[in-house]
Amino acid sequence: MHPSSFTSSSKDIARFAAKVAAFLVLLVALDRAIGAAAEYLYFRTRDGDTGGQVNGLLAAKSDIVIFGSSRAESHYVPDVLEKSLGASTFNAGFKGSNSLYDYGIEQLLLKANRPRLIIYDFSSISVARTRSNPYDKLAPLHPYWRNAEIWALIEESGPLAPWHFLSWIYPYNSKFHSIAIFNVRRNRPGASNGFVPQHSRMAESPVGELRVREESYDGNLVAYAAKFISSAHEHGVKTIIVISPRHAAGTYPLPRELRMLADRLQVPVLDFDIAAYPQFTQAKLYRDETHLNVEGATVFSRLIAEHLSELADPRVPAREELPRQIPSGRT
């Protein structure tokens, strides 16, 4: 190599290294500043569509907490349960979530406050095998990455996943609009204790047939659903599993592992199959085939409350006293 070209290249390398170092310093400073501001503002919110409701749940210290995906989010009206049972209720259902998310948020809840009853609304989507990485569903819990249980889940999601958290902005990725909105507005329109009423009605249509097979379930997600139940049991929190109604004949098959666990821990399983509850064949109660609208949710919440209020002390139902609509071994 020509000596002058070597010198020129070395100068370029030194210049490049200096610029990269300066850029990194500036980048880290900005990342820290924006990340710290986002953290402060995020934890002031109590509702939102990107996980802000987790803050609301932890602050509420409710007696009854409902977990699950969009079906849980749409089907349980906390105000109805509260009025009927005299027990504070929070709906922690979250659209598109899976059992990893449920387990993560449950761990946060159990650390902050122990509810008296957990209602786990089981839906196939919570444990379904998907093409995408199921750990991506943990994104709403990323602001809580310093929590040991959440960090363990992040580490599980891939060997390089923890690298993302070198950035302080990253935990608030795609949450900025929500942070801005819910620092100004307290709740989503009409929302109360995590429940967002859905007013639309599906068109009249014949009852379809549910086609979900247990083989389509992801083993790891089923294991996390089981961990969710056993973790509540270990913390002395009573739990019931509910399969809420949908506009279709048939029911979601409860995974074998979950069935056996429910049997062993005597966790009641309530299946609101429309064959046993014909009132839920009415299309006017639904916003689509899978989700109840606010009218349907109110009817359903009253029904759940009736089951619980049959007990002597609705706030602390004894497991053996809870109605068992179906043998827990049934699929």
């Binding site: 290249s9 924006i34 608030y172 990725n173």
Partner: protein
């Protein structure tokens, strides 16, 4: 390995680049070849053997063609083309033809059944095949000397930045660069890194965000109304643009950092004023490949009208088939061919009409805007076929767009917000740069403006990117 993975960005790329500049020039090809093999084997390791077969065939075919005279040259060329295409056919098209032949046999009552192979398509095989073909064809045409160094030839078809999704390089542009000594040059490295950053922004912030909305709509077409499908189609137009041009920018940038110049693959395609112009600006390395090796050998435009139309239709139909073994891709290609035939057939009529009505005089500012809008609309109509799972879904999309309108689906409100926010800088930069390269325009700015752009891109990635390391759309081809 994916360009948008931590594995690539934090480990592979920096380590390979550092080692490249640290090594003496005579060892660099070995490093790049080994790194390229590792890069490819990160997908399905055993599939590197398939590339190995075509590399050996085309390496020797190139030498035999150069060393032969008369009809033997043509025979070696045909042998090379047929064997390279056979590999592509087996892995990409065999099942498609088997299923369609089976269906045809059933239709005419012929009891005939062909087994399907159901093998996974080796990633980027179509790109690899076309780059190999361009080498043997150029050697045959005498425009390129056969490469005698097996390692350098292997590197030409395996060079990791453009191995799995192009740009599809010509040997005249790339081969000689492996013999040149590239020094570390500050301006060039900065320019390459900036281009990579811009490509990453387009992929992770825009394309992957739009993909969430587009996928949820196109996977359930019957459930959505025409307005939603219209929004999803426009989003798909930007998704595929940002996905593929993002990939190309990262590829070109990564190569440039090490001193290699790859050809430009996109040039503001959605600012085209006609379909012909669009195809000069979209996936340029593939369009020029089809122009040089299919369209011109068929006679190009130096033929009669009927033959010209035939050439256009056949070239674009093959281009559609290249994209995928599915009728949706074939119809997409054919539709673009029909656009061009219509454009050629009505050129004088439209010019006369334009002279008489003079829209360019009445509304001089709006006339080009109208042309851009019309071209974009026609391109989007094609994208419906490109994106739909099957033809019946595509036709349903058009039926719903024609009449079934209402409030658009806002299930992923966050994806709508960030997707739309992401499109704005992409379109703005495309408009602002006016045909010049993004990195050229940025590096001409004062230091404060330059650094503001760098920080905007990096902080945008951290704050709005989708970090699920999803594949690039064109990997499937």
């Amino acid at each position: 390995m994916l360009f948008n993975s931590i594995h690539f960005l934090f480990f592979f790329f920096p380590l390979v680049t550092l080692a490249y500049f640290a090594l003496p020039h005579r060892y660099r090809w070995m490093l790049l070849l080994a790194a390229s093999c590792y890069f490819y084997m990160a997908f399905i390791p055993v599939y590197i053997l398939i590339l190995g077969v075509t590399i050996v065939i085309d390496y020797f075919a190139g030498i035999w063609i150069e060393d032969s005279t008369g009809s033997r040259r043509r025979k070696y060329l045909l042998f090379s083309i047929l064997s390279t295409c056979l590999v592509l056919f087996v892995f990409k098209y065999y099942d498609f033809f088997a299923v369609n032949l089976d269906g045809l046999a059933e239709l005419i009552g012929w009891n005939y059944s062909i087994e399907v192979l159901q093998v996974i398509l080796p990633i980027g095989l179509s790109f690899h095949t076309f780059q190999s073909l361009s080498y043997v064809i150029e050697v045959y045409r005498g425009r390129q000397k056969a490469e005698r160094h097996f390692g350098i030839y292997s590197l030409y078809v395996m060079f990791y930045p453009q191995l799995v999704a192009g740009p599809i390089e010509r040997p005249q542009n790339l081969l000689h660069q492996f013999r040149e000594h590239h020094r570390f040059a500050y301006e060039r490295v900065r320019s390459g890194l900036l281009l990579m950053l811009w490509g990453l922004f387009k992929k992770v912030v825009v394309a992957d965000r739009l993909a969430i909305y587009v996928d949820s709509v196109f996977s359930n077409v019957p459930l959505h109304n025409g307005t939603t499908l219209l929004v999803a189609t426009v989003f798909f137009a930007f998704q595929i643009y940002c996905d593929f041009s993002g990939y190309s920018d990262i590829a070109i940038g990564a190569a440039r950092v090490m001193g290699f110049n790859l050809m430009q693959n996109f040039n503001r395609p959605y600012f085209s004023k006609s379909i012909a112009e669009f195809w000069q600006r979209w996936h340029i390395s593939l369009s020029t490949w089809f122009r040089d090796y299919v369209y011109i050998p068929l006679g190009g435009n130096r033929v009669g009208r009927a033959r010209l139309y035939f050439n256009l239709l056949i070239t674009f139909t093959i281009s559609g088939l290249w994209h995928g073994a599915n009728w949706t891709f074939i119809i997409w290609g054919l539709l673009n061919g029909v656009y061009l035939v219509f454009s050629a057939a009505t050129a004088s009529l439209r010019a006369g009409l334009s002279r008489r009505t003079g829209p360019h005089r009445v509304l001089p500012a709006l006339h080009p805007l109208f042309k851009v809008g019309l071209t974009f609309t026609l391109v989007c109509a094609g994208w419906v076929f490109f994106r739909a799972a099957n033809i019946s879904d595509a036709l349903l999309v058009f039926r719903k767009m024609a009449g079934d309108h209402g409030m658009p689906f806002t299930g992923g409100a966050k994806d709508l917000i960030y997707g739309t926010l992401g499109i704005v800088p992409v379109l703005s930069f495309d408009y602002w740069t006016r045909g010049r390269r993004f990195e050229e325009v940025v590096t001409e700015r004062p230091v404060a403006a330059r650094w503001a752009v760098y920080l905007f891109l990096v902080l945008g990635l951290l704050g709005m990117g989708v970090f699920d390391a999803s594949q690039f759309i064109y990997f499937q081809f």
